[in-house]
Symmetry: C2
Subunit: 778 residues, 2 copies
Amino acid sequence: MSSAPTLTPNGATESDQDHDQESLTLPLLRSQRSPVNSTSQVAIVGANICPIESLDYEIAENDFFKQDWRSRGKIQIFQYIFMKWSLCFLIGLIVGLIGFCNNLAVENIAGAKFVVTSNMMLYERFGMAFLVFLVSNLVLTLFASIITASIAPAAAGSGIPEVKAYLNGVDAPEILSFRTLVVKIIGSISAVSASLLVGKAGPMVHTGACVASLLGQGGSKKYGLTWKWLRFFKNDRDRRDLVTCGSAAGIASAFRAPVGGLLFSLEEMASWWRSALLWRAFFTTAVVAILLRALIDVCLSGKCGLFGKGGLIMFDVYSANISYHLVDVPPVLALGVIGGILGSFYNFLLQKVLRLYNLINEKGFAYKIVLACLISIFTSCLLFGLPWLAPCSPCPADAAEECPTIGRSGNYKKFQCPPGYYNDLASLIFNTNDDAIRNLFSKGTDSEFHYLTVLIFFITCFILSILSYGIVAPVGLFVPVIVTGASYGRFVGMLVGSYSDLNHGLYAVLGAASFLGGSMRMTVSLCVILLELTNNLLLLPLIMLVLLVSKTVADVFNGNIYDLIMKAKGFPYLETHAEPYMRQLTVADVVTGPLRLFNGIEKVGNIVHILKTTRHNGFPVIDEHPVSASSILYGLILRAHLITLLKKKAFLSTPEATGMDAFRQFSAGDFAKRGSGSVDNIEDIDISSEEMEMFLDLHPFTNASPYTVVETMSLAKALTLFRQVGLRHLLVISKLSGRSPVVGILTRHDFMPEHILDLHPTLIRSRWKRLRIRFRLF
Amino acid sequence: MSSAPTLTPNGATESDQDHDQESLTLPLLRSQRSPVNSTSQVAIVGANICPIESLDYEIAENDFFKQDWRSRGKIQIFQYIFMKWSLCFLIGLIVGLIGFCNNLAVENIAGAKFVVTSNMMLYERFGMAFLVFLVSNLVLTLFASIITASIAPAAAGSGIPEVKAYLNGVDAPEILSFRTLVVKIIGSISAVSASLLVGKAGPMVHTGACVASLLGQGGSKKYGLTWKWLRFFKNDRDRRDLVTCGSAAGIASAFRAPVGGLLFSLEEMASWWRSALLWRAFFTTAVVAILLRALIDVCLSGKCGLFGKGGLIMFDVYSANISYHLVDVPPVLALGVIGGILGSFYNFLLQKVLRLYNLINEKGFAYKIVLACLISIFTSCLLFGLPWLAPCSPCPADAAEECPTIGRSGNYKKFQCPPGYYNDLASLIFNTNDDAIRNLFSKGTDSEFHYLTVLIFFITCFILSILSYGIVAPVGLFVPVIVTGASYGRFVGMLVGSYSDLNHGLYAVLGAASFLGGSMRMTVSLCVILLELTNNLLLLPLIMLVLLVSKTVADVFNGNIYDLIMKAKGFPYLETHAEPYMRQLTVADVVTGPLRLFNGIEKVGNIVHILKTTRHNGFPVIDEHPVSASSILYGLILRAHLITLLKKKAFLSTPEATGMDAFRQFSAGDFAKRGSGSVDNIEDIDISSEEMEMFLDLHPFTNASPYTVVETMSLAKALTLFRQVGLRHLLVISKLSGRSPVVGILTRHDFMPEHILDLHPTLIRSRWKRLRIRFRLF
């Protein structure tokens, strides 16, 4: 990090040494450069504002690391490979189990609720039924929001934006902690069981990421739960890979879609990817798939309570052959176009509502809880009230299922109707989301629902899903978007009517695809997820078509929902592509100061002083050159490594090089990156005033191969390097001799458009010229 | 630091310390560095040895380029985006059409052949039938190998290794030319129709890549077939993206597997990938899928001759539900393990046979043709002769199809049997490969084949597919591997027998998966391709399991078949991962000389001399610094740009900077990268002796932002930069002032392990410690 505005004192410290350093760093190319980077160093993680930090994927190749690397034999390589695969296996196993239990719990809690209310309604005790329904929903919501707000605010929301930012290199202390994991699982179960229109797929992704990160961390040092074999994973690179596998496992277990989950994490989540990781993630999702299959085998024998065939979203409704022809293409295209517009409008509204909710949630604990309760009460009233508007329909004579069904799932809900009749709106609305989707997707039910029923359901879902996402509880977006899209599709199918051969269930699937494409803007992963959900590969060409059309249309209006949320939360996400104006700037145009340097053999007092007065994470180390009398760059040393050196007090009384002796005091574990949140502070280290006068030989611990760019490098190409290689610091070196060899450090924040445009306001004109239409509503 | 670890094996403190001191003062460029890089600059492309060149994905950000970039308005951006998508659409359309016609031609030619021979056999004219079979196969093979050997040797083989190397940044003049395309299509049709055990999927990938490259090139300048809108695609980056989409479309149209094709190109082919490309490739394969579906609709009405339901590989044999349980897992695991061993053994044998064939093919045109003819005759004899060994079986009473079938496809071939009987070996062997696979995959035929039949078929396929791949004709590997694997799987299924619930057809599918996994080592893409081929998603967990096991087992023995072939062909493929010994070396340890530099304003004579005496592609441009009197690096200029400057004769009589005037003489098209093969030679430019004394201002045309590394950078990290950013040249700059600012240029060849180990032979011990078992046969 360049520097924090609050911690950089304006009246520069008046010691001579600082003054000397100033003169070395001063003569940069431009004189008008801004003194500090004013980009914000905080972001909204879950529901709270947290400080954020960058992750470092660069290997710190110092002598100590090289020595450690050389000493690794076959046995260490075997340990590493064995652990890599074992961890993936464990991630798959645990995430699969959590996903299954999550479903089991939701089906049983929500199922019990619906059975109780349905039974009361059977005896026409409608008021009592409403009360039970309302109170149980309220209690569940209250529980979810209280544990989230009080124990782990980072668990609020879907978690996908946070994990995506993490995989891009932005860390926040609580994102992947154990506390967050527990609250995420329990909170998600209660929120979904509370009949809120929220999903469990997003929370499952976050859960998967947490599990992966915690497993890689290998227990807690505090409780002595560490294992030597895990030491190879104590760095940001290996942890990133594990989290990528974890997020793939999350979607895989939420939708029972192993290939879809893998592609989701590849297309939407990961910022860095390589072929080897594809294989490992595939292994992880394969474990999930095989485990879920085995568990469902167990459940099919009826040992899982109310979790019957209904559980684990799998809308296996198209095992028969379907056929479609060129004549079906125009309505499908229209479906895609309108779906794209609706999806982007959904994104727009959701963004506005989230902004409003943020204002409310900021006011305090009580406000958060009250907001959640109000949403729950509103939802309960709608779910229980709306079906009264729908007329009772007589049961079809040839119904494949029992009609009306009285228990919880099934296509024909009785609700208030007399025997032999069913309420079609209740079948959709007074049900779990999974069952509603299954009802909408099912074929051979073209005459089951009325126009108006599906339209009311669509509007209800659209509004409720926007209102529900922002509450302080672990809630996802996937299922709400699918259910809204499915009702929209079914409605369009009814309008098209006999003009097309496709049945209404198929239109519902395509509607879900178009709405997903319009809101989430993924292509391959959504396509595969939908195929795995509906279990019919013959749909492939149609789904591809709809997704392509709806994404294209929606991209005209705004961005991907997760990117919008991530940006609103303030994460400094590093884009792959440079903006055009970056080609007109050199790195020297954006580098901000002041720069702090160390000498190869530095006084302890200086180190302590600089560490205390700045929050920089990396410091260039320079050496005086004995021949030319100018100084040369030796490398870059990290703050964490300096603190380790100070803690171990490997001090020298005279400024002489130590060489290999220094290594004996340290083990590789001392320099390993700890789990997020547990960082040593310079303030906690006591150093006596004699020690302050001693010296430290930084050479063996300095990364002697930092990535560098010359100060005249174009900013766009520096960004490409920074992004592709996954850096945290990029040293800017001087072009001219006779000056300080390093003229600055670029970090993530220096590449943020806001920062650059702040420094060079005239460039605003040359941003990407997007042909984008904006909704103007508020 | 810069020394090899093996040189100081006991970690001797003294020498290391000395070395540390040394590194501060003198190390820089070693005196013992090799004068030239001895790595070979040629590779076997198709069947011929060709010179190869690196591709350059770096944007040459010179003043001229920036001026051009700034002048682009909304209309140009629209043109670019419109063309990008139109080209993808066209690629999908053309590749889909080619794939369809390919299938149509094969089914009709091979079908006619089988119908004629079957009719003769019906009248017991066996000798005549054999003659017709033999001669028609021979003629087709002869045709395929003659056009390949004489017109486009680059079209030989599957083309996947060549395209993979191209996507990694290795270009050869003929890889993607129009000639290669035509020969590839026609040759592949004849070779497959000739009943050789070869596939058409690999050639389709190469075809797709050719189509993409030719479309992006936008016709030929020679014939005036260029379009202004295509000028944005005249660079290596955009062409790479198109070729990636093209190769995805190739697999998509060969297997009718759009998602599988996309994943194939992502997992196996592409070296660089980004999210935006995923979407475009998805669009391309969607076009293929939709087109194929429409064309098949047309064919189903019977307008395509012998191309009936059989055409376009789609083994749609599992539309019904299947079930499997834990008890089925052990035999499936065994299948995977043995499949992995077989697959790696297959790779090993194929490699050996290819080496032998190369020796034969090198001897000349006639040898190539004779070899192909011998293989064809051998194949015909086996295919016609082996079924005589099999006894005739009585037709089952409840056969779902006509028995025996006399025409070309169908499960029950009559061959020499009396009416009411069928020859089970002939049903497999005396048939097209696609039909053989369909027969093996089909369920409900457990009693149709005998043990021995399937075993004979497996051995025949194993041998024939290894022998056929190396002939000089466009032949692929996918289908032979699938058919071999399917027969292996079916055989295992028969051995397991009643122990398992799975039927033999399912075992054949899993056997194909295991053999593919063992030979090609892909995971996700193979899994999806197989799912799309068999059209049953319920198989997913089983296929995943088999693929993971067989790939893991096979990786113990050797590498991916395409990588083995690519390496044997001599392509300098750049791996993602650095070998461990690269961390012990600095870039200065591998840089080879001599380095040629230009001044910012250089004498024409010098430029011509250096261009004529070296084959370097990039030259650093340095300027004298007016203040410090030492020279500083200005940037890097490309050979092609220098030649353009010389051709246009933008000379100056005095060494003065020209500034913006220089731009007027040039248009962006002058500096665009041409299609492969068409490069201007320095020898073709006439420059008078007066002109030789004039000057050229290189500044406006020099890339002022080249990527650089400091000479003490570790080689491993330089490789990461080189590979991730996709460079062709990486400048090595000096650490010390007062010397030349540039001390060398790193290119692809400098990172090749052979080159490095040649310079530093002591490092061989510290190569990757792979736990790899080697087959020792020859």
